[in-house]
């Protein structure tokens, strides 16, 4: 690296810069011009500026082309990272639009700009192959998410959720960092490619095994995989609903993408195998165990929940297990399937939280209070129907194809050595159908309680966004090749 090209750096980070400018603009406008206006005006104007920032970032990403690597892998741009970054910007738009009608805070500008800052962090996270930048952007993301979780200041549950998220997140950062320092010590580099080159060789150092376990613990916390999931149900339940929707969707995409990058690029030589009777040590075995525990614990614990948000949180843990199955297969095709899965999952999860957010004003959180919702809010109920069945994996919806591709690719990888895990995944996704249907039974079959019979009014924008998301879930289910082709082209 002879000369540092600041111009190239500037060009490469233009989307992030646009998004950060959008965040600052939102904040400034809200604190100056809009200060004394009504809450709804402030939210609408703020959302508009925030969306402009996101759209600008997406346009810049769409215009860029080619492959580029700067500063020893610190900044990487290729079609795949651009695809992920575009998806993140799109999810930021959805998250902003879904929070427009919420009432939990008076600090509108801070809230919206934090969502954008978190998205900037995720875009940096998706576009790097360097341990230092991975750590910094992961912490940048986490700090924004802690604040978003604790944003409703007067709520006891919100503060508690933020505390638990913060403490567990801080510990996981310690583990991740320790794993990274061991990797650095073993290889003398903090670039994923150079680490992979230095690690090449069949024999596994015990120190490398320790590093692998530490890194998996660190990322396991971030993606909420069991047994490192303890923060997730509390954060999902206690956080303001729009924040929970954002945490459940966008941060999942970014965390899983970088998890896959670190494992499949950086530790490519130390994969090992997780076959039923032919295992050899390596990270695949660790991931396979975490995946199995997540699937079992997430799906079984979800059955016992009485709060809808906790139920969604445990189901998210189960879904993290399925996604880890795609990671354990570690082929190019399985990465493709994993990306498709995490994108469609994020869409359905954000939609489900969006529906709950619309009902929040009515004080609906417990499963019981959803009784007879189909008569009180038919549109919301139908959207919830689509999202939950997509999460369960029912055929014409996007979730089905996500699961199908991940399972098939996991089965194909390494001549069927992951068969035991695929069978477990199929069994647990049958279990998951039970608790999703329990929610739908409350909505569609059970009679409404006597004191809650009047119709629920939700703002038009909120309903429109939810309908668009539900339509997307159906569209991607009927024509999965639209997204798959895009991912496939980006990976080649």
């Amino acid at each position: 690296m002879s000369g540092v090209s600041y111009f190239a750096l500037l060009r490469l980070t233009l989307p992030q810069i646009a998004l950060a400018l959008g965040a600052f603009l939102t904040l400034t406008l809200d604190l100056t011009v809009l200060r004394r206006r009504a809450q709804s005006t402030r939210f609408l104007a703020g959302a508009l500026t925030a969306c402009c920032g996101c759209v600008a970032a997406m346009l810049l990403l769409a215009c860029a082309s080619g492959q580029q690597t700067l500063f020893d892998g610190m900044m990487v741009a290729n079609p795949l990272t651009r695809l992920i970054q575009m998806a993140l910007a799109a999810f930021a738009i959805l998250a902003v639009l879904l929070s427009v009608s919420s009432q939990f805070t008076r600090h509108v500008g801070e809230y919206l700009s934090l969502i954008l800052f978190a998205t900037v962090a995720m875009m940096f996270l998706a576009g790097t192959q360097n341990l230092l930048l991975i750590f910094i952007s992961l912490e940048f993301l986490s700090l924004s998410l802690y604040i978003l979780t604790g944003f409703s200041k007067r709520s006891r549950a919100s503060a508690e959720a933020a505390l638990k998220y913060f403490l567990f997140g801080g510990m996981s950062a310690g583990f991740l960092l320790f794993g990274m320092s061991l990797l650095y010590g073993l290889t003398g580099s903090i670039n994923l490619m150079q680490i992979a080159a230095a690690l090449g060789g069949p024999a596994l150092d015990p120190l490398l095994l320790a590093a692998i376990v530490m890194v998996v613990i660190g990322f396991g916390f971030k993606v909420a995989a069991a047994p490192f999931h303890l923060w997730a149900p509390d954060a999902y339940q206690g956080a303001p609903t729009p924040s929970a929707a954002f945490i459940a969707s966008s941060s999942k995409i970014a965390s899983f993408f970088i998890f896959a990058q670190v494992m499949m690029l950086g530790l490519a030589g130390a994969a090992g195998s997780a076959g039923w009777q032919s295992y050899s040590s390596g990270w695949v075995m660790v991931i396979a165990i975490v995946a199995a525990v997540s699937m079992l614990l997430g799906n079984l614990a979800a059955i016992a929940q009485t709060s809808v948000r906790r139920l969604l949180a445990y189901s998210a843990i189960g879904h993290a297990g399925y996604m880890l199955l795609g990671l354990a297969a570690h082929t190019q095709q399985s990465l493709e399937a994993l990306i498709y899965y995490v994108l469609t999952y994020a869409l359905a999860a954000m939609g489900a939280f969006g529906v709950l957010g619309a009902l929040e004003a009515e004080g609906v959180d417990e499963l019981k209070s959803l009784g007879g919702l189909s008569r009180r809010a038919p549109v919301l109920s139908f959207c919830m129907f689509v999202f939950l069945l997509s999460l369960a994996g029912i055929p014409p919806l996007a979730g089905f194809f996500g699961k199908f591709y991940v399972f098939v690719e996991a089965f194909r990888a390494g001549s069927g050595e992951l068969l035991w895990l695929v069978l477990l995944a199929i069994a647990t996704s049958a279990v998951s159908l039970y608790y999703y249907l329990r929610v739908l039974k409350q909505i569609y079959v059970v009679q409404p309680e006597a004191d809650a019979a009047e119709a629920i009014h939700t703002p038009l924008l909120h309903r429109a966004v939810l309908c668009v998301m539900a339509a997307l879930v159906v569209l991607l289910g009927c024509a999965p090749h639209l997204l798959l082709q895009w991912i496939g082209q980006a990976m080649r």
Partner: protein, 100 residues
Amino acid sequence: MVPVSYYLVLAAILFSIGVAAFLVKRNIISIFMSIELMLNAVNLTFVAFAHQWHQVSGQIFVFFVMVVAAAEAAVGLAIIIAIFRTRNTLNVDQVDLMKL
């Protein structure tokens, strides 16, 4: 000259003390301090490895870890203040609104 492995063992001991304190301590501030201890143990390993490899990237990493730890302290203490305002206690056993 002190061999690198001594530093690594010391760092591992510090890290373990941090993890143990995280699990055992009941006061939120103490738990927070144990997280800082873990981060600083990692800093020691980074510096030791940077010395071993005669590189500067490990030491640069340490600077960024310090910066991140400071930012984390700002957010963490804000959350702890929010907890104290809503419940008048810093004992984690009493922060139990939501349970499995």
